[in-house]
Subunit: 338 residues, 2 copies
């Protein structure tokens, strides 16, 4: 037989080189809870003794969650942000995340920019990439994020109680308005000054996960979730899980000037049915109002009391300034609605 | 203003109905470590005090990892099996998994079959689905699996030591032969009896993750991984991470009769470069031979000693029965190779 030795494959070839170039960060100090990061069959984490593990997974698909021409750095940011927002909604603190990525081609400049946006947000929240997968295929980004929360402290959807106040963080509707502007919807273009567009697009493309607020609220709030499908649609998840109803005061909904200057039907669309805001929607007992304000101050995140939980299971009323129930048009976003 | 109340959306609509119909399993007892399953912003797990968390994520794409006409039950099995195999390769025991699924359409009969295959394997290994995401898009399945391992007991790729024996579980190459048969490669059709095809296809479509073996080995083995890209390609991951070399005895490679009857060049293709076997490849000190056999017996999984770790970093020799280095042709599979 012929004698020959096959050389060991160089580590910069193909899939492994792609991971090494863009997703390994050898200079970075490993957080104490990451016992083993990228490069083995599994990552190993050392959870804090006595804490529970919070896990969420979101998949982003081109044409469904982002436009084909989206800035890859914004996409990297958003893919992680929507997952961190789920941790925020449970009151959990981040531990780390995995990234699975299907790419039509190994495009280095796209990946460099995507990784920059991803890691900039990861670093802000001390949430390291610990593992994942890359493959060739239609562009698809799947992130699974891990966090920690003390037992009994997680903010669950089913914990809303009759008499609770209903709150929302930040302001609502700008991401929806940005979407309409990007889609060149006539009413959005007509009622929004062009100089305001970049900030609105930024709001849609780079949501800020409300992690500090979520953690601060875990001691005083009851139910919580993050608004990804619109206030009305998402509030119904709390109502259904808690077996309660709600009244929302139209005038109390936090709106920026870009939203406040829209004609009322379009304000309704943005405020009540606007997805992608990633604000926290939560309930807390009236006795906890001071604690909620303290949590808002400590986390430097505005919160607004917008209504209350009622005993009438499944009923949801939006009240006008005169206390009358307003008609609500439109649907929240659903990936499988006809 | 007109008075109206918008009814709360029924829970069987769209995405939520799809999840409820196929992925909620209300009759199933919740394992003690799952504090909160599907339906909130995050799942909550209670890790066993003192254990480390092992995490792996794999993404399966149509045309890359499976054929468009694959049986959906097999696909459900395989999507979870390849992830469980990563836990097996670390010696970890399963805790649970998340599933993110992009589907071109909400096809109930496809989903029913997919879920049946998925849950049949999940139940065998007591590994519950704890959360996930569904969206519309080109078919893509991303599973992230969580397991537990005692600190210091994980089987890492970099733990191979000079003088270690090299082992592989089960038998090699049948998944590759099945792939060639499905692709109607002439040599595969010519040398394989037609009555053997279904069992070979089953081997490719429904790999058995070697979890019991991995857990049993964690006390006596050094390095381990699961063979997904082929023996030669995957062994090089251990060699590179451990800074060692290896000699493999061609005659010791475990082969079934379907492989043993192939002409030698095709045997080489299947045994050395066949992906998708999901057998464990591991090293253990010579002093642990009895313990390795005990682990094999306890886990009811065959293991075969196929070679040894050498000091010559990066060198990999396959030895003929007369002790000569054989020439090795072909590459292992890489998703981004040209």
């Amino acid at each position: 037989m012929i004698t020959a030795t096959r050389p060991v494959e160089p580590p910069d070839a193909g899939e492994f080189g792609l991971i090494a170039r863009h997703f390994l960060r050898p200079g970075l100090a490993k957080p104490s809870q990451v016992a083993l990061g990228i490069g083995d069959d599994c990552a190993l984490l050392t959870p804090t003794p006595g804490w529970q593990l919070a896990i969420s997974s979101d998949m982003l698909v081109q044409g469904r969650h982002f436009f084909p021409d989206v800035d890859p750095a914004s996409l990297g940011h958003k893919a992680l942000a929507v997952n961190l927002s789920d941790l925020a909604a449970m009151g959990a603190r981040p531990l780390g995340f995995t990234l699975a990525l299907a790419l039509p081609e190994a495009n280095d400049s796209w990946l460099k920019s995507f990784a920059a946006g991803l890691f900039a947000l990861a670093d802000v929240h001390a949430c390291p990439l610990v593992g994942g997968d890359t493959t060739r295929g239609p562009l698809n980004i799947c992130i699974t994020v891990f966090g920690e929360v003390l037992p009994g402290m997680a903010l669950r959807r089913g914990a809303g109680q009759v008499g609770d106040d209903v709150y929302v963080s930040g302001a609502l509707g700008e991401a929806r308005l940005a979407l309409e502007i990007r889609q060149q919807t006539p009413w959005a273009l007509a009622h929004t000054a062009e100089h305001a567009w970049p900030a609105l697009i930024e709001r849609m493309d780079r949501p800020a996960p409300r992690l500090a607020l979520g953690m601060a609220l875990s001691a005083c709030a009851h139910a919580a979730l993050d608004i990804s499908d619109g206030l009305i649609g998402d509030l119904q998840h709390i109502l259904r899980a808690s077996g309660v109803g709600a009244e929302i005061e139209w005038a109390s909904l936090p709106r920026t000037s870009a939203i406040a200057t829209l004609p009322e039907p379009h304000q309704q669309t943005c405020l009540l049915h606007g997805g992608d805001d990633y604000e926290l929607l939560f309930t807390a007992p009236a006795a906890a109002r001071a604690s909620v304000q303290t949590a808002a101050l400590r986390s430097e995140t505005a919160v607004h009391r917008i209504g209350r939980i009622t005993a009438e299971a499944g009923s949801l009323h939006v009240l006008s300034p005169t206390g009358q129930t307003m008609p609500i048009a439109g649907q929240s976003f659903d990936h499988f609605s006809p």
